[in-house]
Symmetry: C2
Subunit: 235 residues, 2 copies
């Protein structure tokens, strides 16, 4: 008799506050026998840390080391991670891959999804994105009525950032880190700097909100974003 | 002795599946004595319906009638709703305003927030947006790496839709309804129609996914969206 395969879950676990898991993600996290999550070369596993209090001791864990450097191809790392996950799925065990934020919005889960979803039953559970959580933490409505919202990574070249931000009613610029100075120059050029708000590690215990004009370049972390809220505020 | 005021919560309750509430929104919903939510002129209250099973009988409820027609100004309606909520807050009771999706992403809560957050202690709890939930339900990753994501309402004029969609790597067009024919023409003109995916009432029991070229204009509901996923899929 052939063993039926396990189910693959892409589990959005939100931006950092463990209470921002959905009821559904929480239930699945309790139910599955196997969890997988990315780890940095330092061994740190932010996704696992977010839900650490919800992980029982009997869980089988698959850490997936990823290169943090963008210069290094991550493809072989995802190949190895997907292969390990596939072994458990083939053995009939359900596996949940922990994803910070939302799995399908700039999430590393997509690389696992593209490797395994054709072969195994797969369900993706949406999570709270840091972009939404940051607007709430900053206390600023992001978009009204007819606004166009654009979400973009700070890694883009300055000319692309300029053209995209130039037509956005509201915007979120993610993954700032060492790209902050470039983004700041673009915002100043577009006259958007005075509207820009900075937040890092939204909803985590070490969340920081700093006036953007007081920010020193070297202190800007990768886990930060700039939010430009809508101006349509006559309501 | 003066009574301390109650706290105002903007509670994101997600796109429709009651299990997509966050643990935090669920906890606050249980704890507050008063809830408020928008109702249509028909008396329907979609936000309340989503969490109906979580609402205990002793809860004080504030229905807030809103005009569904965009031709009617909603400002007087929000004035009345905010005034009722303020009465309970002033009497020391915490009030949670139920918001479909995320409170600060095209949400009606912003109108209450703008009227009351200066006077009362306010906390906004992010919710799963239908845009994220739809990508998960459709099983398509939305954005990779350097993609720019644009979210826009179908109510925009055709020329604005054309210019914004023309530079987006991935896009979500919300609130389709009677604007579907206009959006379809724009997508065809831009060569995006073959990439476009249609979903209505994502995560609700009556969710429907229909191939967009089989869609008849009159059947398109307001509670639908078109998703154009990233093309960057070589991973």
């Amino acid at each position: 008799m052939t063993q039926p395969s396990g189910r693959l879950y892409g589990l959005g676990i939100g931006p950092g506050d463990p209470e921002l898991l959905t009821l559904k993600a929480y239930r699945i996290l309790q139910a599955v026998p196997v969890i997988a999550y990315p780890t940095l070369e330092s061994g740190k596993a932010l996704a696992r840390a977010i839900v650490a209090d919800y992980i029982s001791a009997d869980k089988i864990e698959i850490p997936m080391p990823l290169p943090f450097s963008v210069e290094r191809s991550s493809q072989p790392y995802y190949d190895i991670g997907a292969e390990k996950i596939a072994q458990y799925l083939s053995a009939g065990k359900d596996v949940a891959v922990l994803c910070e934020g939302d799995p399908f919005l700039y999430g590393s889960f997509m690389y696992i999804f593209n490797r395994l979803s054709q072969k195994f039953s797969t369900e993706v559970v949406p999570g709270i994105s840091s972009t939404m959580a940051s607007a709430c933490a900053l206390g600023v409505p992001l978009t009204y009525r007819n606004d166009v919202l654009s979400i973009m990574p700070a890694t883009l070249p300055a000319d692309i950032l300029t053209s995209r931000l130039g037509v956005a009613d509201a915007a979120v610029i993610i993954k700032l880190g060492r790209h902050f100075a470039k983004v700041r120059d673009v915002l100043i050029e577009l006259g958007l700097f005075d509207r820009a708000l900075y937040i890092e590690r939204a909803t985590l215990p070490n969340q920081r909100i700093i006036p953007i004009n007081q920010l020193q370049d070297p202190e800007v972390t990768y886990w930060s974003l700039i939010l430009i809220p809508s101006q349509w505020n006559r309501c």
